[in-house]
Symmetry: D2
Subunit: 348 residues, 4 copies
């Protein structure tokens, strides 16, 4: 006997929604139920997302309680601020997994500072790799899926924080990303002619909304600095998908060797099914994890600069959003955490 | 009870070999056996192909009869001319699926003209969608996997030929392709700096080796022209993977309507699991099929020009090589043809 | 004493307008005057087009007769249909060079069929390389700049037509292009995430508006077919700029040799300053002409297919639009045709 | 009367050599003389570098004293270690401008640590924007052109250092770059199929050779830290050209406002012809400076992180190498510094 859960996706026609469906279609315990949208209601899914071949003739419905009723799991891939109203009528027994930001931050002040709206509260944070977090997520009926940059930066840095190699002060993260993280927004700077052949920084100077989320994760991982600080700069580069985060932090011990840093990472990542610490000397590249739920990590020590340097690569739509969300669903439902999630990238 | 076949890949470190392994790793009836190479013998696979996470610690062996012995299926992803010598000692009971060109052409003269070497003979041609070809491939112990351009052009045109909409004379095919089809060759024109931001034609004027193979397929599909002819031009464009073939041919009936052409395609493609005829008005794009075994097809009629125009998009490494090869393995082994093959592209 | 002309650009904030300004800034006889727009009126040019460093602080004005008055030359880079109303009040002495389609076609019926609006008439056609066209353009006060695809296809094919190698029947053109030709339009399929890593056909089946324009040019070049026909398919590929057109046509003489075809091209292109016939065996690539006003051309004969094959590469914004427009301005003003126009591409 | 200098390029067939020729061809005081290479000796330049249309029929000569004799200026674009032997026989009166690393570092120990070979000495450092450096370069007969990353990072940071906003300790630079900076090397990781759609870090952990060069520049700019330190990470991204450097450093004054930082930059960059401080709020993108000699810079303050953040974008082959070299030649010859150098990028 095989368990089958019925799954709805609210916001099915965006990039995150499309990636959820790609993964759910090959999940052995999932039956794809309602697909909802807003401006695309009534459209054939194949017209909007022509890669979803098996669902091409499905029609996009409105995001209403009636349409979403009767599912075991509902994924939300909605604009920020919309999740609470959609989730509430679903009731406490339905597993609701929110790919938006609404329930990620525990600190209402940080929320209000960065999002400029009232705080909705917080749900269990869907990063199973964070120390202690698998227990929180097991059986949880509500999950806030992390942002794509926080997933990348956290998976690069948490072993160093947890092992006390760095204490969380003066962390610097610069992350190159493709534009799919920005969604299917019709903005001039997201046009292909503008992006191809170009790199640009945005959200510079501590204003990007993922900044407090990364700091929150460093605290959860055990940052001992009185006040962890982070300089975070996202950089848009010409690839559809992928994030490569370069993360550095001052060494707690100026004599830490690269070998010792590597060993600490190896110990903490040994049992992680989706975090692959590369062999010493090999550095991550986003192509290797395209379409997979794997994040590749490497670490070294720059003694002259007094900093630990960790680099992580993932696919922002897979491990960075939809794959991470399915991983959380698996934990919530008591399935093996890796069920239905690809571990091989589409390279080259 | 589940059937498990042991599969070796000769030429495992090239792009075709890597894609075979990506697909075989998620095939429910496959155990991945020996991985062989030439210049990479002794390397850890993860150093050469970092996306193959689950096989990262496997070591590349030499391509010898001893190493390849004891497998149920052996895939060959070798340079042209090398397959016969590797296949022969494997014996007639092993399924040998050759991704190279050696056994594709039935006409020794065409082989010698285009490849400049003696003809090795021909094996059953691994394009199940060609009329009658599934029966040939069922249970076959030898398969010659088609070239990536011939797969694309044939799947765009065979319904028209089979339905008598065109007779195979004066066919013109221009196909845009990413450079992964050229393999991991260290040639200056394949450098990233040369390719990014640039489109270029090559093999122009009827000299590309896939020309006689496409013509052979049109004949198999039922071309009635006394002598089918083809002007084929490949164009290199800046994307790692993908082929988009624009195929035109003179109309047998100058009054053919687009609707009638579409209906003929719909009829012939109705039961094809991997050929998706898009709804009228929607045209193929390679992104939609990235990493999947699907080919998307559309057709129309240009009455003023007197030509049928068909366009097909596929991933040259998946349906165009390794996915097609696995599809043939399924037929050879009596498995469901679609087993283990992705039908959803990694988009955007 | 140096002649200086004052030049206005109407539609200065689009891609064609920006490219005009890039070229005009290095033109030794030009003073850049009014820059006009529509939705961007009042903007600082540097905010809209940050590459135009020397004009960063200029402010975009409205496209009115008052603003455009007092210039010697006015370039129009406006949406189709808008040029006539802007040009009329400028008076007959001002040189008006229209980068839009409005005045390109001489055949009112073709215009109405493809553009679905009343015909505005026609102006001297701004392709100096067409036989006899330099005389028409010398001193002309009105110029209709060709479309980017017609420039490419015509420069690839006119020597063959003019030399009688082909007669203009059953021409097939497939042209790969970057999205900048579509302008800065906020359409989903022009988003970077959609375009990167993807190739797609559009305007298939004889419906693209550049089809009648290419046919018109073949007639001007001397096509002798009773009714020239063209199957034209544009293909979008992931590069900001560039067009690579693959053009084939049935041979008038089935025994034509590649050498004879090349010699005919060499003879007709010998004195062309911007059309570079590559040495035999070298094929065009768009990168080589990026940002330059050069078009690279190569030709061969496919005897088995009975077709001449010519390939041309250009930058759609330079030679394909703004560079061609400046070349016409030079002819109109009696300057050396090559004045101020780059002949070296930005490669790699 | 117009001054004309005869210029040779040693290493003319690489990417830096090709870019030098692109710029020299439009320089009003330059006559292009000998073009030399090594493996390409005897080749037609047009076969190797098809974008250099006006020089297509020139033949590559050997890099010998005889071939290089009789020129006023010789540019060296040679592999590291080769410059001294080529420069010596040219004599002290010839202007020699070295695009390689050999003479950049003044500290022999740093040279030996990072390059692993004996130090050749140092030449005047070709970054005119560094405080005091224009005087050094005026009339100099030897110039060491900076590395591409050091040019970018230095132009982003020197105003902050010179104004005392930061003191040079704990600087962190992460720079995204296209692969043309690596030259035309036939290495697997530089293949187009590997690079397109992928971002990867390399030279991580303080080992990249540009690290001591950036530190040297910060000292020249006035770094007051007892020992300036730098964590530098280069990241390869999928674009042919361009560097975007994100540079952060601890604030000397924790209460520094963004406005005060901007004002300090504005003051120090006011007269720089090629450094464009963007208006507040606009951030650099590499596309805007493609093919131009301009570097775009922006700065802000992240008070919460206690760091100044400066971002710079340039074209690694133009301002980052060949354009910077021509700028130095202008200074050496007493020409206006901006002569022959483009200030408008090829965008989009």
């Amino acid at each position: 006997m095989r368990m089958v859960v019925k799954v709805a996706v609210a916001g099915a026609t965006g990039y995150a929604g499309g990636e959820l469906l790609r993964l759910l279609l090959s999940h052995p315990h999932v039956e794809v139920g309602a697909l909802t949208g807003s401006s695309s209601v009534g459209s054939r899914l194949g017209d909007v997302s022509p890669h979803l071949t098996p669902l091409a003739d499905r029609v996009v419905e409105a995001t209403t309680p009636e349409v979403l009723a009767g599912h075991d799991v509902v994924f939300l891939a909605l604009p920020h601020g919309a999740s609470a109203a959609v989730a509430e009528p679903l009731g406490p027994d339905v597993v609701v997994i929110d790919c938006g930001a609404d329930f990620r931050l525990t600190d209402a002040g940080a929320w209000e500072q960065f999002y400029g709206s009232p705080h909705s509260g917080s749900w269990p944070y869907g990063l199973p790799e964070l120390p202690g977090q698998r227990d929180v997520l097991a059986g949880s009926r509500r999950v806030a899926v992390p942002g794509c940059y926080p997933t990348t930066a956290t998976l690069a840095l948490f072993p160093a924080v947890a092992a006390g190699l760095v204490d969380g002060h003066d962390v610097v993260v610069v992350a190159a990303s493709g534009p799919s993280g920005a969604g299917k927004s019709l903005k001039p700077h997201l046009l292909g002619a503008e992006l191809m052949g170009s790199a640009s920084a945005y959200g510079v100077g501590g204003v990007h909304r993922h900044t407090p989320e990364i700091l929150q994760n460093l605290r959860v991982a055990g940052a001992t600095a009185a006040a962890p600080t982070l300089s975070f700069t996202p950089v848009l580069v010409p690839m559809s998908r992928g994030i490569l985060a370069t993360c550095t932090a001052p060494l707690a011990d100026p004599d830490l060797t690269p070998e010792a840093a590597y060993a600490a990472y190896a110990e903490r990542l040994a049992d992680e099914p989706f975090v692959q610490l590369l062999p010493p000397g090999q550095w991550p590249q986003t192509q290797s994890v395209l379409g997979s739920n794997v994040v590749q990590v490497q670490v070294t020590v720059d003694r002259a600069a007094g900093r630990l340097v960790a680099v992580a690569a993932l696919d922002n739509l897979t491990k960075g959003t939809a794959g991470g969300a399915v991983q959380c669903m698996n934990l919530s439902l008591g399935l093996a955490e890796t069920t239905g999630l690809p571990r091989v990238g589409v390279a080259p």
